[in-house]
Every structure is written in C-alpha cells, then in structure tokens.
Symmetry: C2
Subunit: 293 residues, 2 copies
Amino acid sequence: MARHPAARGLADDAAVLDIGETRLVLTHDMLVEGIHFLSEDPAEDVAWKLLSVNLSDLAAKGAKPVGVLMGYGLTGNAEWDNGFLKGLKVALSHYDVPLLGGDTVKQPASDARALGLTAIGSCALESPPARSGAQAGDHLYVTGPIGNGWAGLQLLLEGKNVPAPLIASYRRPQALVETGQKLAPHVHAMMDISDGLLIDAQRMAGASGLSLSIALDSVPLSEDFKRAFGDSEAAHINAATGGDDYQLLFAAPANLDLPVPAVAVGKFAAGKGLSVTFGGGTIALPEKLGYAH
Amino acid sequence: MARHPAARGLADDAAVLDIGETRLVLTHDMLVEGIHFLSEDPAEDVAWKLLSVNLSDLAAKGAKPVGVLMGYGLTGNAEWDNGFLKGLKVALSHYDVPLLGGDTVKQPASDARALGLTAIGSCALESPPARSGAQAGDHLYVTGPIGNGWAGLQLLLEGKNVPAPLIASYRRPQALVETGQKLAPHVHAMMDISDGLLIDAQRMAGASGLSLSIALDSVPLSEDFKRAFGDSEAAHINAATGGDDYQLLFAAPANLDLPVPAVAVGKFAAGKGLSVTFGGGTIALPEKLGYAH
C-alpha cells in the first residue's frame, strides 16, 4: 500500500519526504504496556523511552528533530499519568524538541496502555542514509556496546540486583541524535538497532542485496554486561539478539576516517545471507536473530 | 508543556510549523474501540474514519494533505485487520494521500483496539486560520447539515433501521479538504466540528475573546435527520450537541462573498459567553454542549 517513494517501501526506520525545498524525515513508533515496557517500569521512564525510540529513528537518518506529536491512552491512573507527563517534560527538554500536539483518549481501565509518538525531523542531505545503501567491501560498524538493554531487562525479570547503567540502558535509552547527524554524510547505509544486532544487520544486508559476515567476538560488550553475563559465545549471542540497544549500525568503507568512535563488527560482500564467526570459526546462526514483528 | 508557538497552545485542531520556506500543518488523532467507534462497525469504515477525522483537522486549517503515518494495534483478528487494510487503501486513494510509514504493535487480544494516525499537510497561507481569529461583528457559519453523524449513531444504538446517508455520516464522514482550502484565505477563524456544534463554537468564541449568539433554528438539518427526529427545539439541540459532524465551522464578515455554500448560524460580539436562541427567544443552554475530553 505504501508505494510512495517517501515511504521507502516501509523497509526503513523513517520516511523521507520532500516538500518544496524542505526534506522531512518522519517516523511513528508505538509502545504497548506489557509488550514494549513493563507495567512496573516507572511512568517517567516510559515517557523517556517513547520519545527516545522515535528520535533514534531520526538519528539513523541523520535528521535533526523539529517536533513531535503524541497519542496517549488514559486508563484512569492519574498518578501514572502525572509521572508520565513529568518524564516527558524532562525528555523533551533533554533532546530540545517541542511537543507540537497530539491526542489524549480514554482506554478501558483494565487495558494495556497504548502510546504512540510521531517524530518529525529535517535533513539537509541530498540523500539521507537508507538501510539499502551498503556496498560490497564496506565494513559494518556499531557506535557502542551492545546488549546493555537486554541485560537490564533480563536482570529485572529475574528479580536480581541490576547495575544502574544496565537499568538505564533498558529504561532510558539515549537516541544518538548528534552522532547520527555527524555520521550521515559519510556512511553508505545506517539504521538503529532496536530489534537485535543480528536481525537488524541481516535486514541491512538484505535491503542492500549483499552478504554479510559478522565477527561476533568483535561486538563490544560493556564491563557491566560482562560482570553479569561473561563474554562467552553464548553471552555474545544474547547481546547480539536481545534488542533495545539504540546504538547506530552503519556501513562504511574500511579506510574511512570516522567522525565518531565506532567498532567494526562485520563485512559486506557480494552474494546474500548472513554468517557469524566466533574466535575465527563460523558458528551456527542462532534460531532467533532478534525481535521479529 | 507545549509552549512552542507551532503548538498553538494545543488549543487548535492542528499544529502549524515552519521549516525553512515550508509551512507544515500537523495533527494526530486516535480512535479507541468502544469509545470512538462501535465494535460492530465494519473495519473498512473504521479505517475510513481514522483517516477522515485527521484530514478534517487539516481541512480546517486550509492545508493540503501530503502524507500520513499510522499506529495500528493488532489484537489477533486477521479478518478485521484485512478489512481495515482494505478500507484504508480505499480511503487513501479517495483523498489521494500517501501512507508514508508507521508502526504495527500487538495489543492483548481482549483489549479495545487503539489506532492512531498522524496527518501532515502543507499550507501556503501566511497565517492558516486559527480558532482564535474571530472578530466582533463576524457571522458564524457551517458548511452543511449538522447532526447527521449523531443521528446515525443514535439509530444504530437503538437497533433501528438507519437511512444510508445517516449511517454514512457516522461511519464514513467526509473530510472537507477542498472546501477548507477554498475558505481558508477568506475567513477569520476556522475549525472542524467534531465534538458538537455548540461546544466547538463556544471554544472558538472563547479562544477569540468574544461572545457568541447562536440562532439554533437556523442550524441546517438534513431531510433524513428531520424524518427520524423532527425539527423541534429538542431535535436541534441534539443535532447541535451530538458531535461527529466534520462540517467546517468558521467566522467571517457578514458581507463576505463566500467561495462555497455555507449557512450563517450565529454572530460574534464583544464580551464573553455563549447564548442560544430558538424562534427568536433566548433558551437555556443545554447542560451538555457536546463531547468534552
């Protein structure tokens, strides 16, 4: 249905629409209670996450956020709603983006909260990086440690003591807005990692019509992650398939002088399919590469 | 929180945001099952309504729709989802507006469906009409019959035989996109009637810092409405407070040569407050002026 070129076949993080001389980048992501966040997650953090996951999509296209509209379901818990508004205010101020409008609707009190946000950005680039632009010979890079969001959620679900940075990665991810703007003019393809490094990388390779080999042992893990889960092959697989990372994933020539720190984790080549190595040897692909919608 | 001038204090149908030389008009409305539509409403019609209520907000600002993004909650009923997609395709084609992107999320199967849509429009006017622009001496106009949506819903709820035009007014309202574009350069204030003529007119008067007198007997009723509900004072009150009209409501000088057919139903003056007359005499304000969020 989405045949307009601006929709990029719905196979990208965001739509890119030209109106006159202005290049808009547009995205809309929803969060549903019990699916995208835990009922016991603080409302302030849910607001932060709703904004961040959308701005992360703009970041992946190198766009500057210019405003957001929100759709908010009221289930009759004023304390939660107040916490959410407080958190939203903090998050909007952090990213310096205005709330332009939206809608507040009643949901039945027993329903899972459904929240939506549309983020609008502008981008001066002739062609904001798509998922589909990787070239044979490009390296695949990530902008930081992978698996912290998964680790935070996992420890929360297990009722364990969770190091603050891992909780923050899960509940208050950072949209890498400035990093995305710095990278966008230089990279061949870019997206954010929301569903898992392996599944998102596979999508980039597929969209680009290339094969991709990922050296799993080169995927950076944080010290907190390693303290909790080690750095074995299994730990790396969990990190690379867990999702909720919001690091940027991009393809660029190996010899490019990158404007931000990043770690090479793979290489594109002609052909198709994803292969994964660990310690120099090819390993079986995990059954689940990430969160599939 | 929404202090950015583009947000118009959240007291308008849509946000108006300038990016470079482009004037964007943006709105986001949600529909929740059981609140904004009936569970037994055909899914095709719900899709139509979701698009129309948002485009109606753009119409009220004289904007031309350039694209939409959708947030869609899946509750596990594939037949309903397919009907919705079919209806959405028809509606997008009718209004000639592209689906640019969005998000599809799972909701628990027993939850009320929550659907959101963001509509993006462009407007070349220096200042798209706000709710707040009415001037003392202006007449208040409506672009067509009022109460058809209410009448359709009422007859459906009562299990009665509903004339097709009244069902259509409730389930498949028309966003008056071209009418809005024709009117916008000429009017002082404009909005769409979604919550009820009286409550929406009161909002326009309040935002404009004026008093407003409405001659209820001059509010146009359709023949189908009159056949089902008559044209008494009570019938006019139901029509003027029922909502779901999606006619445009605007303020303009009495002597203006209007570019589209419209009916004068009231007059603005200095002061504040809403008064309503019927048959020449002032009547008590109905307790409920419309749907208050």
